[in-house]
Amino acid sequence: MPNIIGASKKSFVTGNETAAWACLVAGADMMFGYPITPQNEIMHYWTRLAPKYGRGFLQTEDELSAGFTVCGSVQSGKKAFTATAGPGNVLMQEPFGMAEAMRLPLLAIIQQRGGPSSGTVVYSQQEVTLTTFGGNGEGMRIVYSTASHQDIYDYIIKGFNMAWKHRFPVFILGDGYQAKMREPLEMYNPEDRGIEMVKPYPLIGVEGKISAGREPQHLNNIYSLEEELYEVVMKVAAEYEALEDSIVEYDEKNCDDADIIILSHGVVSRAADDAVKILRAQGIKAGYFRPITLRPYPHKQLRNAIAKSGAKKLLIAESAYGQLERLTKQEIFGETIKIESLFRPGVGIIDYDIINKVKSVL
């Protein structure tokens, strides 16, 4: 890997620029993309950087094509990625489904915008359901919900590695705010942090000559018999579940003695973090829990936080109308903690909103 960054360096950049740099240092070979706000600048930065480092780019005719060209590129053994949002994410669920079925280690950066439909081009957390369980499958994917530029950078590097190590598609779930805002970021070469990048390998066009006796690789995603499909899905599910503990990531603060745990993900967790500090200063025992992976979900860790704190209430705060709440409810089914909600679909949430909500339900 070339030394792209040099010594680790601080910069003040947008989230989209962060994403392009992270893909570059992670050794991504190809990006396929289609314009949609608010992810466009990932393509803009990538198209400026890529030729200098021998990487490729194609602007496709639509998101279906972007997703499927990424699938093809990954099959041929390249680290390939795409970026999209909103209606583009809807279209890409088709190729993402193929990636799930064929275990194609693609990486997709989702910068959530408002929905449903064309919604807004600005911001939301309304692509949680779609990104975690989109398509006609079982959600066999890894979804990292980032909260800062450092997260975007770190989890893109990690995401490529998880994708190629485990062969599950990986999603970096950001949002329009993270895409467009500028904040400090520390960039580094993964190798300088002791991170070894997993090498990609081809699934077709593999080494060895068929004419000299190698078996041809026939990749498939469709089955004649119900039982055949059943075997495959069950095998994939078992592999996914066995990996859960090693993939799951979360962040937890002040939950030991919390009366109320504030659960949030992504950029909203920054406000939740601030809110907990302020509430604590006011003598209110609030705790903070943030799932970093939404798939797989840190359900054991959340159950544990609820159990050890003895908290009476769980406040779920999200810039959507209950997508994180539904996900959480199914993951911690059986818990008797009372769930309160702060739903602000398509708009930001600040510490003030959370503090007010906490005071109104305690």
Partner: protein, 195 residues
Amino acid sequence: MSLTRIALAGEGGQGVQSIAEILAEAAYNQDQQALYIPNFGLEQRGGVSIAFIQFSDIRIGAPKFHKADVVVALSERAVSRTAIYSGPDTLFVYDNGFHVSEQDLPREAKRIIGIPAIQTANQELHPRVFNIIIMGAVIGLTKVVSFDAAKDALESKLGYKFEKNPELRELNFKALELGKHMAEKALQEGGAENV
């Protein structure tokens, strides 16, 4: 310095986003935490352009905010558009050359201050440095970055232009200084309180 939240708003092309970015970078270069986010999207096309900037000693939470510490409205339309960001603790600044009715001004504000930025730009300097006067005013009002740090940030952003035309450097630095003094003077004089 604790958290300071600033909303700058104006017409597209007035350079609102440029000065927001320069201010945020100036703070970042001084090892402060800074976060800047523009409004973008459909509204931006032909609408009022708003920049949200936050400065702090510690990591900044949510990227946007409901109420700003300082709102600066750079156009008549921006006055009514940004009134919602003004709360009981907000310093609301607009150009006293604007024709705005009482009802366009925010209902809540700690103080509402008018400054002669447009007039100064047009008569004493050059219309193109209007936004730099505003940048100077923000520094005068909030001290979020030092005057020298702002000059450095301007230099790093516009240095390539200054190299070609050194007079431009003079003009920008002068604008920055005038803006700062203008704001400091307005603060001393008081402006309208608790309207």
